[in-house]
Symmetry: C5
Subunit: 305 residues, 5 copies
Amino acid sequence: MLTDRAKQILSWYASDNVGVKTNLVRLINHGSLAGTGKFVILPVDQGFEHGPARSFAPNPGGYDPDYHAQLAVDSGCNAYAAPLGALEASADKFAGQVPLILKLNNSDSLAKMDNVCSAVTASVKDAVRLGCVAIGYTIYPGSGARNVMYEELRDLIREAKESGLPTIVWAYPRGNLSKDGETAIDVVAYAAQISCQLGAHVVKVKPPKDFIEQPEAKKVFEKYAIPTKTLADRVRHVVQSAFNGKRIVIFSGGEAKGTDELLEEVRQLAAGGAFGSIMGRNAFQRPRPEATKLLSDVMEIFRKA
Amino acid sequence: MLTDRAKQILSWYASDNVGVKTNLVRLINHGSLAGTGKFVILPVDQGFEHGPARSFAPNPGGYDPDYHAQLAVDSGCNAYAAPLGALEASADKFAGQVPLILKLNNSDSLAKMDNVCSAVTASVKDAVRLGCVAIGYTIYPGSGARNVMYEELRDLIREAKESGLPTIVWAYPRGNLSKDGETAIDVVAYAAQISCQLGAHVVKVKPPKDFIEQPEAKKVFEKYAIPTKTLADRVRHVVQSAFNGKRIVIFSGGEAKGTDELLEEVRQLAAGGAFGSIMGRNAFQRPRPEATKLLSDVMEIFRKA
Amino acid sequence: MLTDRAKQILSWYASDNVGVKTNLVRLINHGSLAGTGKFVILPVDQGFEHGPARSFAPNPGGYDPDYHAQLAVDSGCNAYAAPLGALEASADKFAGQVPLILKLNNSDSLAKMDNVCSAVTASVKDAVRLGCVAIGYTIYPGSGARNVMYEELRDLIREAKESGLPTIVWAYPRGNLSKDGETAIDVVAYAAQISCQLGAHVVKVKPPKDFIEQPEAKKVFEKYAIPTKTLADRVRHVVQSAFNGKRIVIFSGGEAKGTDELLEEVRQLAAGGAFGSIMGRNAFQRPRPEATKLLSDVMEIFRKA
Amino acid sequence: MLTDRAKQILSWYASDNVGVKTNLVRLINHGSLAGTGKFVILPVDQGFEHGPARSFAPNPGGYDPDYHAQLAVDSGCNAYAAPLGALEASADKFAGQVPLILKLNNSDSLAKMDNVCSAVTASVKDAVRLGCVAIGYTIYPGSGARNVMYEELRDLIREAKESGLPTIVWAYPRGNLSKDGETAIDVVAYAAQISCQLGAHVVKVKPPKDFIEQPEAKKVFEKYAIPTKTLADRVRHVVQSAFNGKRIVIFSGGEAKGTDELLEEVRQLAAGGAFGSIMGRNAFQRPRPEATKLLSDVMEIFRKA
Amino acid sequence: MLTDRAKQILSWYASDNVGVKTNLVRLINHGSLAGTGKFVILPVDQGFEHGPARSFAPNPGGYDPDYHAQLAVDSGCNAYAAPLGALEASADKFAGQVPLILKLNNSDSLAKMDNVCSAVTASVKDAVRLGCVAIGYTIYPGSGARNVMYEELRDLIREAKESGLPTIVWAYPRGNLSKDGETAIDVVAYAAQISCQLGAHVVKVKPPKDFIEQPEAKKVFEKYAIPTKTLADRVRHVVQSAFNGKRIVIFSGGEAKGTDELLEEVRQLAAGGAFGSIMGRNAFQRPRPEATKLLSDVMEIFRKA
């Protein structure tokens, strides 16, 4: 049975087919936050993105993909997201125990590209074959390879829809931007808007900073006094920029950090109207009991929001 | 029943199939200007093109895509045009209430491209699925990526025809041109001609300025004394350049401006034989009652032209 | 019934299917020169290639595509060639009255490309749908984008054959050549040879000048004393270079010029064994009665050749 | 019948179809090491990669592809891997006598590429047609052409799976790396992780050196005191980085070297948990009896590990 | 009936289907050298590659494609090879009189490419339609566009096999090489090896010179004392590098030269184990009786070898 909040969320996706809605419900209705319309997701793509030792040496159990799938199951996450290889390794063993999200494109830290652009390392057919409930795709707004990514995503979203799968877009501004600009409030909000316009069902961004990158945007933020002081303020603007809150927007935590700092950040996210957190290194690099406790605390914050 | 003017317009598209003609009639016969052969269309792609705050902070209701669809319905526009995500969000709710145009390609302001070229972010199949009456596509004549755009458009026009959908081409000269040259009368007229030759059913250009970019064109404008002093003169040349007025040409208003200035511009457009206006920021960034009044005044000008 | 000359011409295309031969016969057997094996064709792509005012201001009736189709009908041309948009506009009205040739690729004068290459703006399917008897395609031998063009043309020729349509190749050397070299006798003859090797049924080149571009060719022209003094001499070499005259080669007139000069040029073409003329600006930029008279005079020259 | 070790290995590939598992069993159960879960494979692509004289002059029998197939059969290797041409030459004669692996992409030493990237010179369909049990593909992590390779591999893995064939990835870091960095322990382990995430069933890397390329990795290796002194230590880290040992990882020997040095290296590989060796030049450039003896000694080391 | 030599040659292509073998037999069993396992082929692509006057002015009959087909028939060549256009012109007239080889890719001398690469100007389907017994394709090992060529060739070989057609590879090293290096013995042998590994049924190279381009190869040639003094020595190494003589390797003559010099070169080719000659300009630029005599003498040399 659906909660009223779940029904409300689904109403924003009215043009989607029943298959897509069914898998959105699977995401909404799984784990500790089932039915609340809030989400905590475990993503583990760092082995690919940063290398194995940097990702798993702090807690070596994580070299084994099964570790993460089990952690997602035990801690009551809404879903577990990973690249093809990791899901190939664990999907059969954990079939039906936790919603899986196949991250379709990935980047490593070895190559230096003229224009940043991840490689598409898996397909929608793989997601279907492995029993996933959604696909994930990373865009880098600001990259000179923007068209490549937006157009790949267009095709993947369409194919995913035809397979009844919703799409989660990781939106990381990068390229023709200053380092601070990558998490500037105007840029993160813009990235959320782009993701929604591209047809994302769920948008994943980084917590924005109190900085404005684009001169044209700066004038508007000042003229209309858009609040950006607190993280909650900024999250509110990002959620508003995601079709006035009619698209699910979740936030990552970024680099591993102290538990207090982390929980305070999550409280701000929740206060600003975030739909949830996607928490990787901060979870799996901690010893398992600590990770489970942390995830539980994060869920509690969102539940009460 | 069709007016004589509607029949005349349709006669110019005699080589098209009945499906395409049917959707042209839907565009012609909807809203306050139904049957007049004049058009006022609401386009909302600025969230994608310029960012959310720059587009919607002046009138925050616009963060929600439904706002625009409702505005188009209530003000009696011939159609509402938007990117995929916005139509996904609103199409089910507004099904059948206003003709929808899916803008198939879009650009953001974050990346810096070697050759300007929008990303194709949606498909003809999406347009069909969402109940649209036409597709929209932006070309940048003058860009080094010209061939990419003209060839994408060729394929999309063909696929759209096979689905019974006409194509509206947004023609914005850009690239190997001076800043003034982008709206020079010779260049805008040339962009209209190119759009028609590419097979556009409707062409959308910016109001041309009294400036000539190309030396070769300058000689001809002078030798044959083509009038370019008033906006009406220039619009007349653009319409003539669109198969001697046998293709629908509509004009955008560009940046938000004062109401008097705007209405005077529209009067010149109408006097020059424009088929209508496509009005975005000038409409949705105004408070709603003002927007409705403005659109109504614009329609009145075209009705009387 | 076929004339002997028509039969002879057809015999050179013995490996083609009956559909292609049928459309070759339609080209041969239409208009004032029907059955003579000579051709005068009206091409109107200048609106796309040079812009509307530069093309049509001298004789404003030409802004309307119907003007050209009617001119081709009334003056007894073998065919009328134009880009997609113009044929879309006129094909239904003039159905069956004059053989149509769809120019599949086109270039405008606004962009500056690294390697010159036209955009493919229409398809073989469009040609079939619009009742055309042939497709046209422009190659720029000498361009660094040569492979793109030759390979597109390969696919289009094959698809056209499968639809029973012959292919007319516009061969304009350009790119890695001096300005004079673009019409040098060695280069034009080479372009004709390349077109034939690529599978063109009809080749269209510019009248060659008495200049040799390539040092290696210069040696050979001198050693074997190939005559290049008169235009008739040079045309003879070009026709010989087109499979010893076993492919139809026609010549364009280039920029608008005086009537006497033009007719003298045509006499030289005819004397050199040209199969005909393709005459655009020199026809449609003249007042209509003058244009009809000129085309009639040109046809007379070829008839008597 | 399957040994317990074979069953354990197969359990790691539980998400694969029966066809893929069947061919994995063929690899596991062939030759002197049948059933042990250890592998010695003969790869002969050096004629393509380095040229014929450099590869075969030391032992001219090897100019003939049949020589290698016979060597693999006689010495009890698990499989013989080669490019298309060599397998075309020998596959019929040796049908069913030794498992064949078709190396799908290859590079030569003549060209200089902007971004290193092998050419895909054969297809999955070729592998099926020639009776192969697996495909092989080389990636160069670190190359600016990374996306091309990862995406080609994605498509090939999927097509191979559909044909019941597992995929062996040759992972050679190259490009944006120092010369030492190409075999640095952090880089080789990272390459193994990437290969696994891309979906490789078997990973082939070079023996890593006691050197760390990436500053970010260096911090982690030091902080967590990851042992890298002995080759066995380093192999252990690479195997751990391959899904904690749940993917088959084999090691090449590189340039031809003395027998004692070579066997010592193999002992270290075995001690570190390597699944086997892929040995080309060190085998086929030796006189045949020496080669057979060497391969036998290597197999003995792995059998006892 | 097959000669023993023909049977032996066929045994090297055992993995090919009957269709491919049938056409190999047609090549082997046609003309004056039928059944000997030796080949003399007439290739005429110089009109495309060098221009018409440079190719045909010395003997103007050659402007007509039929001239060459007739020459191949009358002189008893094993086959006649030409680009699409020339075969289109002659195939019907000469159907069944001489085996035809369609050269699928071609280059002209007008353009200057960043990376040398021929254009694919015809298809396997064309070869089938025109009754050919094989396709031809040119690779430029050493070019930065190597991957484009090797991958095109992969697809063409596969498609040709499916149509029962063998593939002849013209291997011309070019690009990242010194001028001498293009015909260096190590480079020509390497090009032959690459062609074989790519799946060529017949390899065509230039006669190698006594020069070694690659330092790594030089060491090996010296260490193992590979003879390179006489052309026969070098041909022997090239043939060995073509799977130890298990692929058909034929040699071109290059630029036109004196008859004595030419026949001496052919004697060396034959002495070194070449399978034959492919002789263009040296044949068709001579007056017809001389050409026939020359070809006959060449055949006699190979017959006796």
